[in-house]
Symmetry: C2
Subunit: 431 residues, 2 copies
């Protein structure tokens, strides 16, 4: 099987009209640089990188800058040495200057690599989580680029970790298939929602069985407190309340805001400051304990996660499925989190992130962490209707996906309607 073409499309949903996804710094039109690997067989590989609207065309251009490394390649050669293929994309001796391994170029790399993983799993006839579970530890580890992290994680240590979690794997897989993976909801507390909408959404979510809720906080401390009070009133004291600042504070501001909000008993504060500020997160974590610090959705690569763990800067590892260099790099982070005994609670929402990360959490439980303690996968209830195999929530848990691949294929009708700028939705909006 040979990859004969890379099709990449600019897909945007006009979510900013309803303020879905609004927070302290973002008000986006949820979008995706959407990649399809076409082969000389019946199979295709699908991958996407989530963006927030404007600039999605730049990620599309970055995929085009990388596609010469993909088109014409024999698929067996690629999957026989995924580490080498990762490095073909990330260590291109001219493109690398534009990263390295961060920002737009790395997001484009993520879309391409996830499409390769999707194709691999489809060829095996398995959902990605099951494909990962069935790979030998040696093969799994051979896909990871350990550059810059060998001071914490080596291939040998990675295999040890996987071997150590061997016991009970079959039982955990049975458990996942029966019960699914625990989730929490972010759909209730967007910053742009009025009070009555927040109350209504909280009541509905409690009725649906949710036990953990995330709210957005911002630079206005009175507004933060009044919204936290509403959330606590609605969800009660026994359910978990997480807060998310989306990077809107400096280090000292984060500390004082969270001290003031501690009376609402937040389980974690997410993105209290710049995603780049490892030492800042470490200081915040020390000052606001026992409130936990969480971050990761904008963490650019495994080198930054390594340091967040080394510095004890975060308690929860909120890995994103497509900001980094695809599933390969996520595997490195999941294994490092295991070394430091920190729960991986993936970032989701956006376009397709829930569809992606359910696989990561299920694999993590079965093959790496072996526990559900303090672990939840984010869930946000929008845009799932556009996916061929949308994620399914049952009793506030992700049901295990069973169809082959990475669950990230968008419906052809949605692609046609939401392609920017020529899709029907965008033509209507500009009219």
């Amino acid at each position: 099987m040979k990859i004969v073409d890379v099709v990449v499309r600019d897909i945007r949903f006009p979510t900013s009209l309803e303020k879905d996804g609004s927070d302290a710094l973002n008000q986006g039109d949820y979008s995706a640089a959407y990649v399809v690997l076409q082969t000389d067989s019946d199979l295709e590989g699908h991958g996407l990188t989530f963006t927030n609207g404007r600039g999605n065309e730049v990620v599309v251009a970055a995929v085009r800058a990388l596609e010469h490394h993909v088109v014409g390649r024999e698929f067996d050669d690629i999957v026989a040495d995924m580490r080498a293929f990762y490095r073909v994309l990330t260590v291109d001796n001219q493109l690398r200057w534009l990263g390295p391994e961060k920002g737009i170029l790395h997001m484009a790399t993520g879309a391409l690599l996830n499409a390769v993983w999707d194709l691999w799993a489809r060829r095996e006839g398995k959902p990605i989580w099951k494909h990962l579970v069935d790979l030998s530890p040696e093969t799994l580890v051979s896909t990871i680029d350990f550059s810059y992290i060998t001071d914490v994680l080596t291939p040998e240590r990675a295999i040890e970790l996987l071997d150590a979690a061997r016991e009970g794997r079959e039982a955990r897989e049975v458990e996942m298939r029966a019960d699914g993976y625990p989730a929490y909801t972010t759909s209730t507390g967007w910053l742009g929602y009025p009070e009555d909408k927040v109350r209504r959404l909280c009541r509905e979510a409690v009725a649906d069985g949710w036990t953990a809720f995330k709210m957005k906080v911002g630079r206005d401390s009175e507004d933060n407190a009044s919204r936290a009070a509403i959330m606590r009133e609605e969800i009660g004291s026994e359910r978990k309340l997480m807060m998310d600042a989306n990077q809107c504070w400096d280090v000292n501001e984060a500390i004082s805001h969270m001290k003031a909000l501690s009376r609402f008993d937040p389980w974690w504060i997410e993105e209290p400051t710049s995603p780049d500020d490892i030492l800042g997160h470490a200081r915040i974590a020390t000052e606001i304990a026992p409130i936990a610090v969480a971050t990761g959705e904008v963490c650019q690569n495994r080198v930054m996660f390594k340091q967040l763990l080394q510095a004890d800067a975060i308690r929860y590892v909120q890995v994103d499925a497509c900001r980094m260099g695809g599933l390969n790099e996520v595997l490195a982070v999941v294994l490092m989190a295991r070394i430091f005994d920190k729960p991986v609670c993936p970032h989701a929402g956006g376009v397709g992130l829930c569809e992606y990360v359910q696989h990561l959490s299920i694999f993590d439980y079965i093959c790496v962490s072996g526990t559900l303690e303090d672990r939840m996968c984010e869930y946000v209830d929008h845009l799932h209707e556009h996916f061929v195999e949308p994620c399914v929530i049952k009793d506030a848990r992700y049901a295990v996906p069973l169809t082959p691949g990475y669950s990230i294929e968008l419906k052809s009708t949605s692609l046609a309607e939401f392609e920017f700028p020529q899709g029907r939705i965008w033509r209507d909006l500009s009219a």
Copy 2:
């Protein structure tokens, strides 16, 4: 004066043919995303971001994604609040997801902001360094975005630092105009050069009065040692020899390689590992002392520099002029380096970096550091002939530029010839 258009062009020089600029990870066609701000007056503003060839078109696309924030703006409104303008570019509530403040989007931001500074200095009829010297501390500080760095540097502290360096400023300006700013050369030791070429270039450079020389090192320890021996033979023991690994080692490898190379008395090791690995640099610095650690050319923003300084991870701050968000952000780094008493030794070479950074070093000496001790600005001898006002080296020092602006305007003939892919050079090469 109103900005009526942003022209952005993809300019590439085929330097990879001669292996100029070859190192452990890069072998580039030195390139630039070149920006011209056109106004309704006779004045234009020029700015560029250096890239390594492939992917330059993606940076061009990123400039286009930002230009709607620039076109149509009154220039006086922009320069009356440069901090606000910086945040218009960096905190766009959709584009920000693609960074924030890193990688391709931030490089595009740098090109645009530097063009604004160039235009500002041209309107004042001054070279940038002199424009900066003549701005009041309050105005200078008002251009800087202090977000995420207030735990180290506040506007008040920045003004204090500038006020503290007030004494002797006039004498230092006279001194700079007479003597220029000290430089070191990187032209002698590229990894791809054969031994006889290295020897010849070293002899010529010693004859020209150079006292500090940089060589590239890589993953082959025997080759590193034999090339270091050649450099030391040619330059003698009294001149400075710096080494540059261009990120090719993991943390433990960097330590062992540099212990082995310590017998050649390197003054610093530059980019020993991932530019993102603050804690890694700190560990290397501790283990290989008294050899100094230097980095910065790929440091993505002020938040990372803040931490490199906080963690005592580097001794030399190798700020780049256009990877970060333009001159505004460089000013923040220069001031933070002053707080930690670390010399700023800017990164240069590439396309136009020497032209840019001479201004930064001269300003730093006159208004911030007040000393030349342990300070040198990098110099690489290529591509200067394409600039309208190329930098001038006299006695191994940068002569002070005197024409208005940021010295970054490319000749129109060079623009026409090297524009990619339609310029004559590229048409000839593809023929």
